[in-house]
């Protein structure tokens, strides 16, 4: 009988051990969570009492907030600035959760975390996350984010208006701030412009490229001289798409093609057929290789973050061509991207969150450092104005040109309108499908139909033609 009992007990324990590793995940995670918190509390307790003994009320107030500050991001750009310019309060550990944004991977990771925010242990809660223009609406308009004016971020007198609009919900409640303003410019190679246009100074180049007709005509001249006008079929996409007069979907969630998108397709067909551009995607190596000194491409489009963060090849000390570049507004005003710092609901570090936000929009010292040291175009009009008027300021990469002055003049033309929560994957999907058309592997009709298929799979809520 005894032996029987032992055998049954062994069998049961084996079964439960096996079962625990499989199906019953929610149960095991709920039991694990309290265990973790008690463990954390136990290790923190002595530290907290020591700290309280040493310091005063301020420390006590601080310690009432979380000790771990979790930041969700899709690349290392802001991490660099944060680590350099933000003084993290004593005792707080900053945790970066970085997921690349391709195919919406970042949004998926973030969504899971935000939807689980209420159940997550304090140290696992999202305390701040970054969002881009293409999908900021999804978060700003949801209950997963909170009103930052209530947290103490309320001075928007120096920030650019569109950056506040973008981070607000339908009722005008502000949910985040951007640390940069992103008017996008035409970035050209001075030496190639000299060869093709006979001029290389920004004002003169702008005069020759200030409309699409002129731009398209110059593309032919560039080709005749052995150059490419742009290095990617999607290079001008943002310039068009940012001037759309209607959003991707209408009020009933029907997909709609703006005339600007049609215009982009028409221009690209012309450019591809005439070899004015390459069939490479906007982030492909083939395009990036064109940024080296031996590249044959005259024009790129992008904001400050593009030339200081994404044009590494051009800045390469051996093969690059730093200083041979300059910017001007180009054929149409537009902006591209931008990184917003968003306030998730339920963070256990509201004071620090507000402090980070205020630092990156209102701390003039930090904003000035972003411009002077990082070649950013900050989201502080006062600081930008200071640099724009400063004759001694110049960007080495742009041959000493004062980029802040150029961008400052462009900010008035930026409007925030016609965005949807679907923008990132629709923009990306359209480019991916049409790339196959431009490469000649499918016809245009099939490419568009594949785009609709892609939408049906990705966003069941959108009605396609």
């Amino acid at each position: 009988m005894k032996r029987k009992l032992t055998a049954i007990v062994t069998a049961i324990s084996m079964v439960t051990a096996l079962a625990a590793c499989g199906g019953s995940a929610p149960a095991s995670s709920t039991t694990a969570a309290p265990a973790e918190t008690t463990a954390a509390a136990a290790t923190e307790a002595p530290a907290a009492t020591e700290a309280a003994a040493e310091t005063e009320a301020a420390a006590a107030e601080e310690s009432s907030e979380g000790k771990v500050f979790n930041i969700y991001a899709w690349n290392e750009e802001f991490k660099g600035f944060f680590e350099k310019y933000y003084q993290v309060p004593d005792g707080v550990t900053v945790n970066w959760i970085i997921t690349p944004s391709d195919n919406g991977a970042y949004q998926q990771k973030l969504d899971e975390a935000l939807l689980n925010q209420a159940n997550a242990a304090d140290d696992d809660k999202v305390d701040m996350f970054l969002a881009e223009a293409d999908y900021i609406l999804k978060y700003a308009g949801s209950e997963a984010t909170q009103d930052i004016t209530a947290l103490g971020v309320s001075d928007f007198s120096n920030t650019y208006k569109y950056t506040v609009q973008a981070a607000s919900d339908n009722n005008g409640v502000v949910k985040g701030v951007s640390f940069q303003c992103c008017p996008s410019a035409l970035i050209y190679r001075r030496s190639i412009a000299e060869d093709v246009l006979g001029v290389s100074e920004p004002d003169e180049v702008q005069a020759k490229l200030d409309s699409w007709d002129k731009f398209n005509a110059v593309a032919k001249d560039a080709k005749d001289k052995g150059y490419y006008m742009t290095a990617s079929f999607a290079e001008t996409y943002r310039v068009f798409s940012n001037n759309c007069t209607m959003p991707w979907v209408d009020a009933d969630n029907n997909l709609q093609f703006d005339p600007q998108i049609e215009a982009w397709i028409a221009q690209t067909e012309d450019f591809i057929n005439n070899d004015y551009t390459l069939t490479a995607g906007i982030w492909d190596d083939e395009k990036n290789a064109q940024m080296f000194a031996d590249g044959k491409t005259m024009c790129f489009f992008g904001p400050a973050w593009y030339f200081n963060f994404c044009m590494g090849n051009a800045q390469d000390p051996d093969k690059g061509c730093s200083g041979d570049w300059a910017i001007c507004e180009g054929p149409a005003a537009h902006f591209w991207g931008g990184t917003w710092l968003m306030a998730p609901a339920g963070t256990d570090n509201p004071t620090m969150l507000a402090d980070v936000m205020n630092t990156f929009i209102n701390d003039e010292e930090v904003c000035s450092a972003l411009v002077a040291n990082e070649a950013q175009f900050s989201n502080n009009q006062k600081v930008n104005a200071k640099f724009a008027e400063d004759e001694s300021y110049g960007n080495e990469f742009l041959g000493g040109q004062n980029d802040v002055a150029v961008f400052s003049a462009m900010t008035d033309n930026i409007v925030w309108e016609n965005h949807t929560i679907y923008d990132q994957l629709l923009n990306e999907g359209l480019q991916n499908q049409l790339q196959q058309y431009f490469k000649g592997s499918v016809d245009k009709d099939t490419a568009l139909k594949n785009f609709y298929n892609y939408i049906n799979e990705t966003y069941p809520a959108i009605n396609t033609p």
Partner: protein, 321 residues
């Protein structure tokens, strides 16, 4: 032996079997919890409309077989998506698996042949198994870079003068398929070789010797002795390779940036499933695809199992040599 004692022995035998059942119970419990229940849940989920729009949950709402109807209706391009992707999967699998099994069988026979007696077997076994240790996604990423329009392969071809314009390998149907199959082949042929070697080593050596003494040549020994006796392992290899093949995902997903270029000709069933699942968490449609995938795997496995092992289960007339 008395009748009574015999009965006693019988009952004791039965009660021993009970312990046997108890000890295999953990497997069945684990199987039920980790495989059977999820499978039934998948089927259950496939009957609902259930997805996320942004951060808003839509459903779950019971829709019956609507998801299946949608799955098997023509899409925007006029083809029935799932059939196209099933076709792609099978083509990609066959292109990789057929050479894989042939090469593995050949290597296994060479390595186990006492007449060839290949030196440094351990070394070769390690080397051919090596690609399997690399993560599929890393392997795929490597090929993506190698064969990109500005990648090393194009540079070598351009420099050697064989081509005068970079070839866009990743946008040509046949080259994408060949690359995917090649990767799967490289990753799995070592594994198959080792399995088959174990199988061959399990065959009684005296049979080979007897065949040889009877005057059989190498081919006859292979086809009349090795192959028939290897059959159970071979069936196992083919079925596992097939299930793996039908679930092909990581290699084509990374190589084609998840879009199955060109024109979705390298999109597999699981990539299609993934499209539904990632952004919108569409459990209804993804569940329907999974159920179809399950049925297809089950049917194909049965066919392979029956056709390859049929002759050894049926009593057979003597062959005349």
């Amino acid at each position: 032996m008395s009748k009574k004692k015999e009965n006693e022995l019988k009952t004791r035998g039965v009660s021993n079997a009970k312990w046997g059942y108890l000890f295999i119970l953990p497997f069945f419990v684990a199987y039920t919890l980790c495989t059977l229940i999820p499978q039934l849940m998948t089927f259950y989920n496939s009957l609902f409309m259930n997805y996320r729009d942004g951060l808003t949950q839509v459903g779950p709402k019971f829709v019956g077989l609507e998801n299946y109807i949608k799955l098997f209706s023509p899409d925007n391009t006029g083809t029935i998506g799932i059939l196209k992707y099933f076709g792609n999967t099978i083509i990609l699998w066959l292109m990789g698996a057929v050479p894989q099994i042939i090469v593995a069988l050949l290597l296994a026979v060479f390595f186990t042949s006492y007449r060839l007696n290949i030196k440094g077997q351990q070394f070769f076994k390690t080397v051919i198994y090596m690609p399997n240790l690399i993560m599929a996604s890393a392997f795929s990423m490597l090929f993506f870079v190698l064969f990109s329009p500005v990648g090393p392969v194009n540079q070598v071809l351009l420099a050697s003068g064989w081509i005068n314009k970079a070839v866009d390998f990743l946008n040509i149907k046949i080259s994408v398929r060949v690359l995917i199959s090649l990767m799967n082949f490289l990753m799995w042929f070592g594994n198959t070789t080792i399995l088959l070697m174990a199988g061959i080593q399990g065959i009684d050596q005296t049979l080979f010797e007897a065949a040889q003494i009877d005057g059989a040549n190498s081919w006859q020994i292979f086809s009349r002795v090795t192959l028939p006796l290897l059959s159970p392992i071979l069936v196992y290899t083919v079925i596992t390779a097939m299930i793996g093949g039908i679930q092909m995902f990581d290699v084509p997903q990374i190589l084609t940036k998840g879009i199955g270029m060109p024109n979705r000709t390298s999109m597999t069933m699981v990539m299609y499933l993934n499209n539904y699942l990632t952004t919108s968490k569409n459990y209804g449609m993804a569940g329907a695809v999974s159920v179809v995938l399950f049925i297809v795997s089950a049917v194909l496995s049965l066919i392979v199992y029956n056709s390859l092992s049929a002759q050894y289960r049926k009593p057979k007339r003597h062959r005349k040599y």
